[in-house]
């Protein structure tokens, strides 16, 4: 029997980065993938953030087709699915990463990206075994994971197993690290890939001005349009708890509604787009930091651990970061001869001190924001008219001051909604950010007084 230092299960971004890192560190590594090729089982689409390029030097070698996303937009539709308000914005100056000003994401197909990363792993020396389903873990007399069992009953021994087997992590389950996800910890995402001629896409959007969009309405949870190198992905998700309880309907029914909505129909027509492939997958979206991400002889990375970010469930960057950390911890554990649960606790400590831990420091606040607003259609029957009325000045039907007064009274009528909204979603974040609220308010008041005293605005006419 061949014995490995590290067994990685799942050749997605987390698994391949783990296998590459482990091989680079001189560990004998095997990487299992149940698909014929890496990427065959990956349906989630992929937006590569500037942070990935900053954190992983090997990204310089990437030469797969990609689409640079420089804008994002939010479309608010009413109950007739007519658009009432739209916001569009560019990248901000806040990003610390190089390239953050240049793009939000590089959108790529997982087929291409997963194979690029798996190639890096094999080039570093990892053995890739495709078309092989891992069905169980091997345990030693102390109950620690000592390897895996494949579908053919082959027993493969390894010092450390890294489970990168996705949201339905059978290994996490079999190793006894956790039970099934709780209803508020995981979403179901359905998505349709559309194909469109690239010249037409470039002609309509401009080759350098691609924009990823979110559509909200009182009828369904927020849907996204992600522009891709050969068209776009259109999809939406919802927490399992809401689906299973019947509070939300089957996601495919929602998707059909979105595709039939006017703005999407127009997008499809303008691009001459054709539906090409249907996707569905579970996506962990945790309102709390994951626990039990390691045990004796095993570590969980990426979606298997529940690492997609709690605000919008972006998971690729965090999968890659956790894969790297897991492999580094594996190397230390193997060289210390301690791969026990105690020895691998270092993994939990390291990811908590990484960007993953930082994201999860406000997990509840971020997840509640998304659950309460973007995945809660009823909010938009109020938010959309409120947003629309901000543009009171654009109407030529009344004297503008009349419209302004009407807008104010509209806001007054909905004051309770606005206050509750701020209290539920904004205030918790302010608190989490450590903004001293009372002091800030006092300072604002002081600035108001000073500004009033000095208000010597000169419009040129003079008094």
């Amino acid at each position: 029997m061949v014995r490995y230092d590290v067994i990685v299960v799942g050749a997605g971004p987390g698994g391949s980065v783990a296998a590459k890192t482990a091989s680079d560190l001189g560990l004998k590594t095997v990487l299992f993938e149940r698909g014929k090729k890496p990427g065959d089982k990956s349906s989630s689409g992929c937006g590569l953030s500037p942070g990935i390029f900053q954190d992983f030097d090997f990204m310089k070698e990437m030469s797969i087709p990609s689409l640079k996303i420089r804008y994002q937009a939010l479309h608010m539709l009413d109950e007739n699915l007519d658009e009432r308000f739209m916001m569009r914005w560019s990248t901000s100056d806040l990003g610390e990463y190089a390239g953050a000003r240049e793009f939000f994401q590089l959108d790529v197909y997982r087929r291409d990206f997963d194979r690029f990363l798996a190639d890096l792993a094999t080039r570093a020396g990892a053995e890739l075994r495709t078309s092989t389903l891992v069905v169980d873990v091997l345990k030693n007399s102390k109950g620690e994971v000592a390897g895996v069992v494949t579908e053919d009953g082959e027993r493969v021994e390894g010092e450390v197993t890294i489970a990168a087997d996705g949201a339905v992590s059978l290994l996490a389950y079999r190793a006894g690290l956790r039970g099934k996800w709780k209803p508020d910890e995981v979403t179901l995402v359905v998505d349709c890939d559309f194909q469109a001629p690239r010249e037409r896409m470039d002609g309509i959007f401009g080759p350098e001005e691609y924009c990823n969009e979110v559509y909200v309405s009182p009828l369904y949870p927020a849907a996204y349009v992600a522009m891709m190198p050969e068209g776009f992905h259109l999809g939406l998700g919802q927490w399992i708890g809401n689906l299973a309880s019947g509070a939300a309907c089957n996601p495919y029914e929602y998707l059909k509604q979105v595709i039939a909505s006017k703005p999407i129909k127009r997008l499809i027509e303008r691009l001459g787009a054709k539906p090409r492939e249907f996707h569905a997958h579970l996506l962990p979206w945790m309102p709390r930091p994951p626990t039990n991400t390691s045990g004796g002889g095993i570590m969980l990375v990426g979606d298997a651990a529940g690492f997609p970010c709690p605000l919008e469930a972006e998971g690729i960057h965090y999968a890659m970061v956790s894969g790297k950390i897991a492999a580094e911890v594996a190397a230390e554990a193997v060289s210390n001869g301690d791969t026990s649960a105690e020895g691998l606790k270092l993994y939990d400590e390291r990811w908590r001190n990484s960007i993953i831990g930082e994201e999860f420091s406000a997990a509840r606040e971020w997840a509640e924001l998304w659950a309460g607003i973007f995945f809660n259609p009823s909010q938009w029957s109020i938010i959309t008219p409120l947003a629309n009325s901000l543009m009171f000045w654009a109407s030529w039907s009344n004297p503008h001051i009349t419209n302004f007064k009407r807008q104010l009274s509209f806001y007054k009528e909905n004051a309770q909604f606005v206050v509750e909204f701020a209290k539920s979603y904004i205030y918790p974040l302010l608190r989490k950010s450590g903004v001293p609220l009372l002091r800030s308010l006092l300072k604002l008041g002081w600035m108001w007084m000073r500004a009033k005293r000095r208000s010597g605005f000169d419009f040129g006419g003079g008094a």
């Binding site: 149940r34 989630s44 494949t150 495919y252 595709i259």
Partner: protein
């Protein structure tokens, strides 16, 4: 009139998956959660129990949601045999 396109048929597959979902009817409470979540509508309620379509292996997207929501653990889910089942080219 043009027939409504079912987007869900737009999936490539490799056959020979073997059985990968097992439903234990004696444990099933008939709560219907599996039927309400399955994006491919492969489950239905019959006589107070869930029932999985016989041709599920040719339709299933391997998302595992039915297994996840089954509180009575009446659904066993593994995956199709390695190298078979769904192949996504544009994920």
């Amino acid at each position: 009139m043009e027939e409504e396109l079912d987007f869900r048929n737009l999936v490539k597959r490799v056959g020979g998956t073997g059985e990968f979902i097992r439903h234990r009817k004696n444990v099933c409470t008939g709560c219907g959660k599996c039927a309400s979540v399955c994006p491919m509508q492969l489950w239905e309620l019959r006589k107070g129990k869930a029932s999985l379509r016989e041709d599920y292996a040719e339709k299933c997207l391997e998302c595992g949601t039915c297994w996840l929501v089954c509180d009575s653990n009446a659904i066993d889910f593994t995956y199709p045999k390695g190298g078979t089942g769904v192949v996504w080219e544009y994920g």
